[in-house]
């Protein structure tokens, strides 16, 4: 009786652990295969261009709006907090550092994860459940090279460019609020921004963006590729892709911040 209870208890603990390890193994294998195939010919430049346009150009409005309002909010909050100590002049610097180091990369990545990561998972998931991926294989095309590599390259290349755009718009948002609402002198505000500007702030944001782009594309492709069971399976894949990439973006944001700025 006691032995049976222990056995049941261990089974209850063991099954999720075994499942977790199996999924981890499958995921690691998938990532290794995907990365390997990114460097192996044939390279589908047209498909890369399509993904580049979809992920980059069509994400400009959403990234622009997000970073614009983030920059505006930071300007108001900094002014409201710092004015108590007579440090209002730090607004331009705080806006610059907040936007370039954190807000532009993280918010842009989260928005792109919702927009593009979900779409990737849905598209590849639908291809999986309608046997289009099997069809690719039977036509001697490697799905990792045809479907996944162009998306991974697009993610890694596009995100830093989007973040650079987000940096400019976010700083502009802070400038608009600083000058038109908080009555800063425009020349002084620009001067303070330029004096505070350091290459590491922008570069760290762009490196983060490259990593986030890889995460978004990888999660979209992985969950789409593994989806099964029709529309419900595709729906689950889409949700999982967005949730997993959002969580990983936040985790990797912390890790990369440690690497760049922890003393």
């Amino acid at each position: 009786m006691f032995n049976k209870a222990v056995e049941n208890f261990l089974q209850t603990l063991g099954r999720p652990l075994v499942n977790f390890l199996m999924n981890l193994g499958y995921f690691s294998q998938f990532v290794a295969r995907a990365v390997y195939n990114c460097f192996m010919p044939p390279f589908y430049f047209k498909l890369f261009g399509k993904q580049f346009l979809n992920m980059g150009f069509y994400s400009l409005p959403v990234v622009g709006l997000t970073t614009l309002f983030a920059g505006m909010v930071i300007a108001i909050q900094t002014y409201s907090g710092f004015s108590k100590y007579g440090a209002e002049s730090a607004v331009a610097t705080v806006v610059l550092i907040s936007v370039t180091r954190e807000l532009a990369p993280v918010l842009s990545a989260l928005m792109v994860a919702g927009r593009i990561g979900a779409a990737m998972a849905a598209e590849i998931g639908t291809m999986r459940v309608t046997e289009q991926i099997d069809a690719l294989i039977t036509l001697s095309a490697n799905p990792f090279r045809y479907l996944i590599a162009p998306r991974l390259w697009a993610g890694v290349v596009v995100m830093p460019l989007l973040v650079l755009f987000g940096d400019i718009i976010g700083i502009f948002g802070g400038y608009v609020v600083g000058v038109y609402k908080l009555d800063f002198n425009p020349a002084n505000y620009i001067n303070a921004t330029m004096q505070s500007l350091q290459a590491i702030d922008v570069i760290s944001g762009m490196v983060k963006a490259g990593v986030f782009g890889f995460i978004i594309s990888m999660m979209g492709c992985y969950h789409g590729y593994r989806s099964k069971g029709g529309a419900q399976g595709v729906g689950e894949a889409t949700t999982n892709a967005v949730v997993a990439s959002s969580i990983l973006i936040l985790i990797f944001n912390y890790l990369l911040t440690e690497v760049f700025f922890a003393r």
Partner: protein
């Protein structure tokens, strides 16, 4: 060298505890049209996917032209074409790009020549040239099957697989597809393996029929043999009766 194009021996495949293929032995001769029949969920699609390398069997042997394919690095797909149950056309490509996919990707044919060849093959399967620039979503189920058939035969494969080619079609369109399958296969001199539970289709297409039940081939013979057989499983399947040795879980 044997005259078998495909030779399967002792093939096993299970998903978890469910044994789907339980020691399948089957051979298809060069130029032969073999139809595998069997109820839903008996492992017909798994069998065809194992032969194509889309699934890895647990054990057994699959030889194509006397060469073992399981574990082989050789690209076996160059010899094969496949018509999928739902046609499996690529949504992101136009009809002609779907049909000419292997010409563009593998044979590196120019887009202009590939399109002309695609239109020629589309004509063969009874589709007008103006269909070429449409998207697959704009086609009916029957037209999608024809496009799928055109894609399967355009690279002149030695072996063609048909997965439930008439499922979801009205009887007349199903017969049209059957005729196209026969014409295409004969025209190329290809070996074909069809899986279906449509007996009208099986009778029309097959040189030989094999029945898969409980993961094993339980009967094999010509269409004439099928009419005379006293195998109770086959008799029940052909008559479509719910009474007999084949039980259906409800």
């Amino acid at each position: 060298m044997s005259d078998n194009k495909i030779e399967i021996r002792n093939l096993y495949k299970a998903f978890g505890k469910k044994k789907v293929l339980d020691g399948v032995d089957l051979e298809v001769k060069k130029g032969e049209s073999l139809v595998v029949i069997g109820g839903s969920g008996t492992g017909k699609s798994v069998l065809i996917k194992c032969i194509q390398g889309l699934l890895t069997p647990d054990s057994g042997s699959i030889k194509i032209d006397d060469e073992e394919t399981i574990g082989s690095k050789k690209n076996i797909h160059e010899k094969m074409g496949m018509l999928f149950q739902g046609a499996a056309l690529f949504d992101s490509l136009s009809v002609w790009e779907n049909v000419a996919f292997s010409l563009l990707e593998n044979k590196k044919m120019s887009r202009k020549d590939a399109k002309l060849e695609a239109i020629r093959v589309l004509r063969q399967v009874g589709l007008a040239p103006d269909v070429a620039d449409l998207s697959p979503a704009e086609l009916s189920g029957g037209m999608q099957k024809r496009v799928g058939l055109a894609r399967a035969v355009i690279s002149k494969p030695e072996i063609i697989f048909f997965d439930e080619p008439t499922t979801g079609l009205d009887p007349i369109m199903a017969d049209v597809i059957n005729d196209l399958i026969i014409e295409s296969a004969r025209g190329l001199g290809a070996t074909t393996l069809t899986i279906t539970h449509d007996m009208a289709s099986a009778r029309k297409i097959a040189d030989r029929i094999a029945m898969l039940y409980n993961g094993k081939i339980i009967w094999s013979g010509t269409v004439k043999d099928l009419e005379k057989t006293d195998n109770p499983y086959l008799r029940q399947f052909v008559s479509g009766s719910s009474q007999g040795p084949i039980t259906v879980e409800v």
